[in-house]
């Protein structure tokens, strides 16, 4: 405990530990969004014609859309013309080995706790590091390739496995899906691509670490993960950004495609810069994440710990198409100071005997405002489908808000849906009880909140569960007086 405590103390002394800026030479296009910029990105990345066509089609559709306003968050609309849509660290060629990467960038990841150098790598975790718009390094690539696992940056995949990318891109999140998905489809620059071959249980955790560095850029990455028949992979996404006064837009798209008997476990520890105490700056996190359980007995499990961003707007979803497929969503979201989050999930049951579980834990502190919004839909053919939803909110202080908005629809009489939600606060009796055993109020709050989130934390890979608990404690600092 003392180490943990000391660490917490250190972490909390700096308001946002990951807020530094790295000084690298970058190739950045001037701000602005138009067809030329899209052509420029595509050209810069040496893309095949079909991909440029995909982008332009998405852009044409994007022009017909208006930003969504139904979510329960308030913010100044980002000026999409003021954003630069391409920023890449300058380097001569794609680095052949880690040694060729700009030492500044390596140092950045080191500082973030994600060492990329061969000798320091995390055991059992392969990392794809995305710096601003492009992937700068992927670790353990050889070991993975030997097993037939493709884990590389999206651009690399377009070059080396265009047929796979073309087969799956936009199949789960079509470019017509929503405003930000359309924007992403038009301007995405990089991201991660994963393909797990038939029957392989990937022994390494795969991880992508996103870092926004440059000012006035947005991050529009695209992640595509395919698990072929009987495959399994656990994938983790982490993210941070420098502390800047202006808001930055992060509009990613993540697509998961799962074949028969395969499983993808996708975990996110989201810690984008949340803005300062007065709500200045911070990331707008408008992300579309969706998985398709295409095959029978397939499974997708989303776990997310959301502590960062000024405004979060995302609903990692599962389309349960295959019979007996399973969707899970475990979420902890914390809003402190002036953070706002409208997050939840969608479980669309199409196949027979499909099952879904939703566990959502929302913590509001300070003047934070948070909404759980979820959709559970049982289609006409979802015979014997089941959903269970548990949505708990905890309010710390009397200036925050916690809202629960489930949308439930059933078109099949044999389907069963259960939704439960509760709202609690930390009781003064609980604090006194801890105090009486010699535990300080601050520790008590952090431990009680940790207990509140336990069902979700236990879904995270072990090392990230510890990380998540720490993040939570730091994010709670000063919220209870």
């Amino acid at each position: 405990m003392s180490d943990e405590k000391k660490m917490l103390q250190e972490l909390s002394d700096q308001e946002y530990k990951w807020g530094f800026v790295t000084d690298v030479d970058a190739d950045t296009v001037p701000p602005g969004l138009n067809e030329d910029v899209i052509r420029f990105i595509s050209h810069k990345k040496n893309e095949p014609d079909w991909l440029l066509a995909f982008r332009l089609k998405a852009y044409a559709h994007f022009l017909t859309l208006t930003p969504p306003r139904w979510q329960k968050v308030q913010y100044a609309e980002p000026d999409l013309q003021a954003i630069s849509y391409y920023s890449a660290p300058k380097q001569k060629e794609k680095p052949k080995s880690i040694d060729e990467i700009d030492p500044e960038i390596l140092a950045t990841y080191e500082k973030l706790g994600i060492p990329l150098m061969e000798q320091k790598r995390l055991e059992g975790v392969a990392v794809d590091a995305v710096f601003d718009s492009v992937s700068v390094a992927t670790t353990h690539q050889k070991k993975l390739a030997d097993m037939g696992v493709l884990f590389m940056s999206f651009s690399e995949a377009v070059e080396s496995h265009p047929e796979l990318v073309r087969r799956y891109l936009g199949k789960v999140v079509p470019h017509t899906d929503n405003f930000y998905a359309a924007l992403n489809s038009a301007v995405f620059t990089d991201g991660s691509f994963v393909y797990i071959p038939k029957g392989l249980k990937c022994p390494l955790e795969l991880s992508t670490y996103f870092r926004i560095n440059a000012a006035n850029t947005g991050q529009f990455e695209r992640t595509l993960i395919v698990a072929d028949e009987g495959a399994y992979v656990s994938y983790l996404e982490g993210c941070t950004a420098p502390q800047r006064d202006e808001n930055q837009l992060h509009a990613a798209v993540v697509e998961l495609y799962v074949h028969d008997d395969a499983e993808i476990k996708y975990s996110t520890v989201q810690n984008w810069y949340p803005g300062d105490k007065d709500g200045k700056g911070g990331i707008y996190n408008f992300v579309t994440k969706r998985g398709l359980c295409a095959g029978d007995r397939s499974k997708i499990s989303w776990t997310q710990v959301e502590t960062g961003s000024a405004v979060t707007w995302k609903y990692p979803s599962c389309v349960l198409k295959g019979d007996d497929s399973i969707g899970e969503f475990y979420s902890v979201a914390l809003t402190n100071n002036l953070q706002q989050a409208d997050t939840g999930t969608k479980m669309v049951h199409l196949g027979r005997n499909t099952r879904s579980t939703i566990i959502s834990k929302g913590i509001s502190a300070g003047r934070g405002d948070q909404t759980y919004r979820g959709l559970v839909k049982m289609g006409k053919n979802a015979v014997n489908a089941r959903n269970f939803t548990q949505c708990d909110s905890m309010l710390l202080g009397d200036k925050c808000g916690a809202h629960t908005m489930p949308y439930i629809e059933s078109r099949n009489s044999t389907a069963r849906i259960e939704h439960e939600a509760t709202t609690t606060k930390i009781g003064e009796d609980q604090i006194f009880y801890c105090n009486q055993r010699g535990i300080s109020t601050e520790d008590a709050v952090s431990l009680i909140v940790g207990g509140f989130c336990r069902e979700v934390f236990q879904e995270l890979p072990l090392e990230f569960a510890v990380e998540a608990q720490k993040l939570l404690s730091v994010s709670l600092e000063g919220s209870v007086g």
Binding site: M378, K380, S393, L395, L396, G397, D398, K399, C400, G401, A402, H403, T404, M405, P406, Y407, I408, E409, S410, R411, N412, S413, T414, A415, R416, I417, E418, H419, E420, A421, T422, T423, T424, K425
Partner: protein, 404 residues
């Protein structure tokens, strides 16, 4: 702003403006009607696109064919059976029918009469929860009659006040809005029963009841929408509760081709409690839409909601409930439950139980379940000699009986 349908509302505006001179009933409450007219002119009917219309249907209102009918017609329709003992008021096509009514003896301090008689009351339409919406404006523009119930402090009505709304337009389309006002003082007790039968196809009835519960009062409010006819029903109840008052509501909806019922309730004084129950049982192509909006605007108040739906055939049921706990409404206790039973694969249910909470010292929860009859229960009854059909019927009733 909202994608209004100005053309339809224009029809209503024209009807009102041209018919005004000929309709003495419409000349009463002139200020209220002017406001309604202004709202319709500015916003239209707003019967779609809006949050209040998620999964909802405006039915014949969207078409604008059903126009307000004028005057009492002869009808042989009798409506539902009356209670043996009650203060009974009957309204035929929205107008008081004295020959069928029997208000009877009233204690001192009680007024029970048609709203069309006596002087205008300032309370009407003056409730804070009367947000201007197209439907409210439509009602405000065209109602002719309804109940006026006023109780002085500490008045207790032992017998229920029973309202029958009988509609018969001989198969013609028509809109029948009615307006009821229930205003009870401190320490009063009363039970109000509204019986609605929407009438034949293309007939739209639109009752709006305002309830003001004085300090420490007890109001029980039963609303029945039944009958076999295929008309439409758009009912709304607006309630404001003062300190320590208790309002209990039962909405039983089985009739009409389309029935939408809304409760807009404000807990305005500390310690007030509301208990809202509903049962909607649909079959064929019936469509029932039940909405609640409860605002906790004072500390120490309690809400309990239990809404249950049983849907067979191709029926569709919507529950959309929102409990909003304002900042500083501490020690709130609010629990919202929606349970649905689907008896057919062609039936559809939508459930949106929502909590919006801005105070931290609260106990709030909601739950929603949707499913079919439990196989074990069916099996158990069959081993005791019930036929499958009987077993299903009994179990469906058992499910529903929690509300009644």
């Amino acid at each position: 702003m909202k994608t209004a349908s100005p053309d339809k509302s224009l029809i209503y505006q024209d009807v009102f403006s041209s018919g005004q001179a000929a309709e003495p009933a419409w000349q009463r409450y002139g200020a209220l009607r002017e406001q309604a007219l202004a709202h319709l002119a500015a916003h239209g009917l707003e019967t779609r696109g809006d949050e209040a219309w998620v999964h909802g249907s405006a039915g014949g209102l969207a078409g604008g064919e059903a126009l307000p009918v004028s005057g009492l017609r002869q009808t042989t329709a009798t409506g539902p059976a009356a209670l043996a003992r009650s203060h009974r008021l009957v309204f035929l096509n929205g107008v008081f029918a004295p020959e069928r009514s029997n208000v009877g003896e009233l204690p001192a301090g009680a007024v029970v009469q048609p709203l069309s008689t006596g002087g205008e009351t300032a309370q009407l339409g003056g409730l804070p929860v009367t947000e201007a919406t197209g439907l409210v404006a439509l009602n405000a523009l065209f109602w002719r009659d309804g109940l006026r119930l006023e109780l002085d402090d500490n008045t207790v009505l032992d017998l229920p006040v029973e309202l029958h709304f009988i509609n018969d337009l001989a198969g013609k389309p028509g809109l029948v809005p009615t307006r009821n006002l229930v205003q009870v003082g401190a320490g009063c007790q009363v039970t109000v029963i509204e019986r609605h039968e929407p009438g034949a196809s293309k007939l739209i009835e639109q009752p709006l009841t305002e309830v003001i519960c004085g300090v420490g009062s007890r109001v029980d409010h039963i609303k029945l929408v039944g009958g076999a006819a295929a008309g439409e029903h758009f009912g709304r109840t607006q309630v404001v509760q003062q300190q320590d008052s208790r309002y209990r509501s039962w909405e039983i909806v089985t009739g009409g081709h389309l029935a939408r019922r809304e409760i807009h309730l404000e807990l305005a004084g500390p310690g007030a409690a509301c208990d809202l129950n509903a049962l909607y049982m649909g079959r064929g192509r019936q469509r029932f839409d039940l909405r609640t909006r409860v605002a906790h605007n004072a500390p120490g108040c309690t809400t309990r909601e239990l809404y249950k739906g049983v849907l067979d055939g191709e029926a569709r049921g919507v529950f959309d409930g929102l409990i909003r706990v304002a900042r500083d409404s501490q020690q709130t206790s609010a629990h919202q439950t929606n349970r649905n039973l689907l008896l057919s694969d062609d039936a559809v249910v939508n459930s949106i139980p929502r909590l919006e909470i801005y105070a931290d010292d609260v106990k709030c929860s909601h739950g929603s379940t949707t499913g079919q009859l439990a196989d074990e229960q069916l099996f158990y009854l069959r081993t005791r000699g019930f036929s499958p059909a009987e077993a299903r019927t009994y179990l469906a009733w058992a499910f529903a009986s929690e509300v009644i």
